[in-house]
Symmetry: C2
Subunit: 252 residues, 2 copies
Amino acid sequence: MISSKDNNRIKLIKKIQTKAKQRREEKAFILEGFKPVREAVRLGLVSEIFISESANNSIDLPVSDVVEDRLFSDITDTVTSQGILAIVRMPEYDNNRYFEKDNCKLLCLEEVRDPGNVGTMIRTAEAAGFDAILLSPGCADVYQPKVVRSTAGAILRMPCLSCGNTDFVGELNELKGKGFTLYATHLQGAVDFKEPSYDGRVGVLIGNEANGLSDEATSFADVRVKIPMQGEVESLNAAVAASLLMYEVQRR
Amino acid sequence: MISSKDNNRIKLIKKIQTKAKQRREEKAFILEGFKPVREAVRLGLVSEIFISESANNSIDLPVSDVVEDRLFSDITDTVTSQGILAIVRMPEYDNNRYFEKDNCKLLCLEEVRDPGNVGTMIRTAEAAGFDAILLSPGCADVYQPKVVRSTAGAILRMPCLSCGNTDFVGELNELKGKGFTLYATHLQGAVDFKEPSYDGRVGVLIGNEANGLSDEATSFADVRVKIPMQGEVESLNAAVAASLLMYEVQRR
């Protein structure tokens, strides 16, 4: 049983929890809770599992070590922990595999900063049958604890693509080259979001919570769509707008 | 200029920010940011406005007092404050006025605990043209700072009704008596959410994030609806589910 905060696994877990740089270097993130950890095991993504002392009763999972309760509460990021935590390998995705997929439906996020929003979009994207999510630099790191938690397990299944050797508009340009039709939710949108047929390869562009989509990214859009709003609301929450649009795409 | 944390207005603001009991007693809440405060003034709901020292340059609003910057950062609940904060009177609503409205569309929340979710639903409810929101005891207090912020101003316009002398199912029973058709999003829903016509008086029931709608509340539903989900997602975020359903109601 581990009882010292100077234990090197404990120090590693803390670093992976709190530092994006460490996550990138280790190509790993921390997953908490029985159900998600069980699924990560099934998918062959788990490196090590740690259990708190009091949670450690006949668990049918390959536990690496038991951690003293007091120390476990120090490494968990949740308020009401189930006492299980795993170091999970980041899945590796090849952008091209998705960019070249028939009828690929892609959610493209530009500087969406709120972890809860990003996590919720990953969760809804899977439910709406989207193929992948492309995230610009400046989006919340999808492997930070709050995003991981908000995805409710979808982080293990929904491909989250980063902009590789280019920037966000570079990737949008690439998508245009592959025949994607790009739809931008825009406050000055001309077309009601229920109108387009959304067939073929589709990219849905969602911008930053405060500033919306940049002019440059908007200029790549083939169609500007608006979600009608009553009352005096000026905009919808970004995750709500993305969800309405993804379910509209799915509807066809 | 106020520079002491022992000033009685400062102490009152802090109490209203942090304590639901104090908000109820004072029948007031704290609103931050220029745009929301300006609108609250327009609606005649503002009691007092406080401005930080550095924000205090020729503001066309009836400012009660200026607060030293260091002290202002102590009373604001936002990370990047605009240096303006108001004590705002809670609007008073008569449930019956909404329960008896023709074609009333009502969002009914049972123990939705996450402040971001509740705030997002208030914002979306206005955009989707809903008439009011009924909140069970156990929901996040709609006048706590994080909810207020998440509504992006909609808290000033969207009637948020509490369960008065009865409990949540008592109110549902009342709604049934007024001819409301109640729709419950439920994982074992029988009808696709795109099927119903949602005409007349409509109540959309949304349950707790972790446990869904209680069996008792579900038993009051006339129709159980499900939002189709692909992949291995087990449920949607509560605010996303509410938003999809409200926009579906609005669509008719």
